[in-house]
Amino acid sequence: MKNRWKFRTALALVFAFLALFLVWPMVYVVRESVWIEQEGRMRFTLVFFRLFAQSPFMWACLLNSLALAACSTAVCTAISLPLAQLFARRDFPGKTFWQALLMGPLILPPFVGAIGVQQIFARFGALNHWLGLVGPGVADPHPVDWLGAGGFAGIVAMQSLHLFPILFLNLTAAMANINPAAREAARGLGAGPWRVFRTVTLPLLAPGFFAGAILVFVWAFTDLGTPLIFGYSNVVAVQIFDKVTEAGFNPFGYALVIVVLATTTVLFLASRRLLARQDYVTQGKASARDDLEPLRGRGLAAATAGLALISFLALLPHASVLLQSLSDRWFMSALPERWTLEPYREVFTLPQTVSGLRNSLFYSSLSALVDVGLGVTIAWWLARKEFAGKALLDALTVLPLALPGIVLAFGYVMAFDVPASWRGFDLSGLRAVVNPRENPMLLLVVSYSVRRLPFLVRSVHAGLRQMSVSLEEASRNLGAGPAATVRRIVLPLVRGNVIAGAALTFAFAFLEVSDSLILAMKEEFYPVTKTIWALMGRIEPGAGAVASALGVLGMLLLFAAFFLANHVLGRRMGNLFG
């Protein structure tokens, strides 16, 4: 009986946390968008949405965002599908090396990469200077604009190069889960390789593909950093960002957020339905491992060339950021004119960058800790307990996957705008802790935690699912209580999943762009991403190099985190993004 009360109290606390920091901001935004003071009275109205619908500019922004997302998803698919097929079915020299290289894009926020890429592809950038060595290049009166009109192509390129590993991991995991016997059966009945791919592999792959594609699509749809750097402001994310930072009240903000939220919700619901209809999990996992066919001769050469090209493109942003961080001057020339380590010295001495690094380390570690506590608890409940509200808890822990950072951050700014006093009560103490305009620390940590909670829950849940319940039961009937069983048996056995989940949470918190740009309003609270963005806005020479140096340091840190996660989780990492 005592145990039951302990459990109920803990469950109530978890629900309260999710209600306050996940549900309430959304409810608040929805309410504010339709519940408006008119003629001195609060009333329900759709006037914001009517204004939105009547604005050709807003329509253009929405369509631009959708087009960006669709193009990025398509490019990601085109890159990932052959890669996944190659990695899941073939063995070739250097496979682990290439696989590690292909994960590289995940450790660099695309907007930081965009800084470097612009340096190379701009009209007077490095590429045209290199081309100048063999042809007209910059000498041409109208040098080629590689980034395309207004940066659309550039954004698609940056997003795709950043996001394709997610789809690649998903597809590889899905392929690994297909029982080879399913394909062999089709071959045995006379189907050729292409027919087998079309009629067996593709349909079985669909759930894994949709799970990954939806993440890529929503990510690109609501990406804030990349369009900002390319100066491409006619997208919903930038518009929302502007509405938050603008002083005063702007009705379009709420309507925009609702439109984004509605779009992503519809997409997720649609994909869930599609997945529910095509749930093949019950048909059993691959019991026999594929005998991977080694790749030789011309096939090997072609594969290596393709991998080299993709890796080159994918790591170009990293390389360019690295180059820029080492350059004293890199302007109107193919390569930097002088090399220096000065930016790195500045990163560790400038108060702004030091505090950015310190803040990010602090926020990210704390949010990883919060997620470990919440994630292990929730995953264990979901895997092992039956209780009222279980389906709701399950849904709430998946919800953040569908929730764009920009929407959550907007909700936080609006919903936690605690006034200094309310009906005579002094709220300044609460305001100083909660209101992001005063101190964003709490909300930054919470927003990082809430948004990455699904990774930890999934990671630990996966571990628990692979662990037979009888391991826990054996401990119980040898006299160990539930808490002792979790401590001595469960935690040691899912340790890898906890570490991997925590490393990923940390890494993503470190990379987080939209939450950070929106919530951190005072410079003393800036995390690394916002510091980089702020530095980019400066005109003083060398600010770009310092920003790049900060980006390189971030990359190194994230590389370590991902390396750790990949090391402990191995090939199962793909499951986390599904």
Partner: protein, 349 residues
């Protein structure tokens, strides 16, 4: 420890899994719950272990009501079908676990772990990791782990089902030997009637959430309470007959006193006469019994035995298992078979 259940009931989402089970397991007994899959035997075991709560009814350990007690308070370690050894702990630490939970002194732990491992001949493997052991070895360690805490009762949930046929036979002998040396109270769940026959002190045969019969292996086999129990313990031939005034069972193939007659049968009642395919003998008629003129319908040679489907002129089909078959039998061959009166049972039709 004496384990008693009274009128236990349990349903999951509207499906009744246990429909009123009352049993008494005596101290030192190897008590078997035997039945086809889905009969509720595992649920019953898990209710005794404390993993599942009953909807109604009571469970007593030595007269103490244990309903509502969590598993850790019941002291009934279980040996699982999947072994359930903890992969992050060595063999020694697996076996020591229950003793550490009880906070025993280290020396006592060493002594008892050593003894428990010796009991299953695993003493040399204490330092190994579980995944370095074969299935049979892992199950031995799992048994040691349960024995180490010197429990008042042990629960076995199909412990041998994951082992291959040969190993299963070896482990059966070994379990019997362990139990002979240390007669603990045990409740053992299985669907393998041979395992139950060779190991059990007593068997409860279960079907669809109820206990059909409780008795020693010999009782269950030779005096089955009903047709289900008789058939679950092995193949049966059935022919219809009538109980005559003097208590014999009369059939078109003869009249005799069966070895077992169900107590509810009275003179004049229709009766089912049952006998095992292996009980049929060639050129019987030596004593009292029933005799059949038959032809071979089909034959299946299987080494030490030969299975034959036999048919009488008027269409009765029975199975015959001929042991040590010296000659092949072709379909159509005429054979005269007899079953001795003592080899047959009579049940209500």
């Amino acid at each position: 420890m004496r384990i008693t259940t009274q009128n236990l009931r349990k349903s999951f989402g509207g499906t009744t899994v246990i429909a009123g089970v009352s049993l008494v397991v005596e101290e030192g007994e190897m008590f078997f719950l035997l039945g086809p899959s889905g009969c509720g035997k595992t649920t019953l075991l898990r209710m005794i272990a404390g993993f599942t709560e009953s909807d109604s009814g009571e469970i007593f350990f030595d007269g103490q009501r244990v309903n509502g007690l969590p598993p850790e308070a019941r002291q009934t370690p279980m040996v699982f079908q999947s072994y359930a050894l903890w992969p992050h702990l060595s063999v020694f630490e697996n076996v020591a676990y229950g003793l550490r939970v009880k906070k025993m002194p280290e020396r006592e732990i060493r002594r008892r772990v050593g003894e428990a491992l010796e009991a299953t001949r695993m003493g040399d493997y204490a330092a190994r990791a579980p995944n370095q052991l074969s299935g049979g070895q892992q199950q031995r360690v799992a048994i040691s782990r349960a024995l180490a805490v010197d429990p008042p009762a042990l629960l076995f949930d199909e412990p041998l089902s994951n082992l291959d046929a040969k190993l299963r036979l070896e482990m059966r002998d070994e379990l019997r030997e362990i139990h002979r040396r240390r007669p603990f109270t045990a409740i053992y769940v299985t669907h393998d009637q041979e395992e139950a026959m060779t190991l059990a002190t007593r068997i409860a045969v279960m079907e669809r959430g109820t206990v059909r019969q409780v008795g020693s292996p010999r009782e269950i086999y030779t005096k089955p309470g009903d047709r289900f129990v008789a058939e679950f313990m092995g193949a049966m031939n059935w022919i219809s007959g009538v109980v005559s005034a003097d208590g014999k069972v009369a059939t078109p193939w003869g009249e005799a006193f069966p070895g077992y007659r169900h107590p509810s049968l009275k003179p004049g009642d229709p009766a089912l006469l049952g006998f095992r395919p292996a009980a049929l003998r060639l050129e019987g008629s030596a004593g009292e019994g029933w005799e059949f003129e038959m032809r071979v319908a089909s034959a299946q040679y299987g080494g030490p035995t030969q299975r034959l489907r036999m048919r009488t002129a008027d269409g009765l089909e029975i199975q015959w298992i001929e042991s040590n078959p010296r000659q092949a039998r072709a379909p159509g061959e005429a054979v005269r078979l007899a079953v001795a009166a003592s080899d047959a049972v009579a049940l209500p039709d």
